[in-house]
Amino acid sequence: MAVPILKQGDVLIASIQSALTDVDLVSLRDALVNRVSSYRTRGVIVDVTALDVLDSFASRTLRDLAHMIRLRGATTVIVGIQPDVAFAMVQLGLTLEDIVTALDLEEGLAFLSVRPKQ
């Protein structure tokens, strides 16, 4: 299931609509890393509100995504991690360490708008 990627100004927004398979997650990572250059992107927001679970593979893929995009010169914000998902991640010992997170899409956009280009 492909995740729609929207462009708003110099920000790309990937809005996950439903549970994703491991293959879907990797496709999303690759699509975003590729589009950063073609759209002169400064920031990327991945909205995971609809994700039912963030397990070890999903956590790792989101971290990889953010690191790759940073290497491409843009900033990633993960938004919308649900309270129950956060609870489970902590219990399982999963982290997003140095990745920027925000409560929701609005907060994510606010973060990127005040941030000078890296």
Binding site: D52, D55, F57, F87, M89, L92, G93
Partner: protein, 134 residues
Amino acid sequence: MNTAADNVEVRVQISRVEDVVQARQHGRALATDIGFSASEATLIAAAISELARNIVKYAGRGEIVLRCEGDGTLRMIARDDGPGIPDTQAALRPGYSTSGGLGLGLPGVRRISDYFEIVSTAKGTTVTLEKWKR
């Protein structure tokens, strides 16, 4: 107190990445049915996701059995007849991985389990875990 979900058993055949999603969604639904909180149900779904992924990745195919024992216990059994885990003790150590992963899957699952058992031979692997309703 008995509920309609007591002694229910759900079997999910695992061979594709889509089945991993199916298995964890069944697990969440069953956990919710027997009265686990939404947080606990998410944790259970995440644990099932790890076990199901391991089946796809290391064995190719297998099954997940989810069983409500009637006393507030949800028992989850992940079974495959793959090549087995050469060193189960190492596989339970955080950071150990033979696949280039982070090695956080199985150790995390064990950490959150009220009961955890892993039996692995050259003929296959069975992981059994339980979550008890508090």
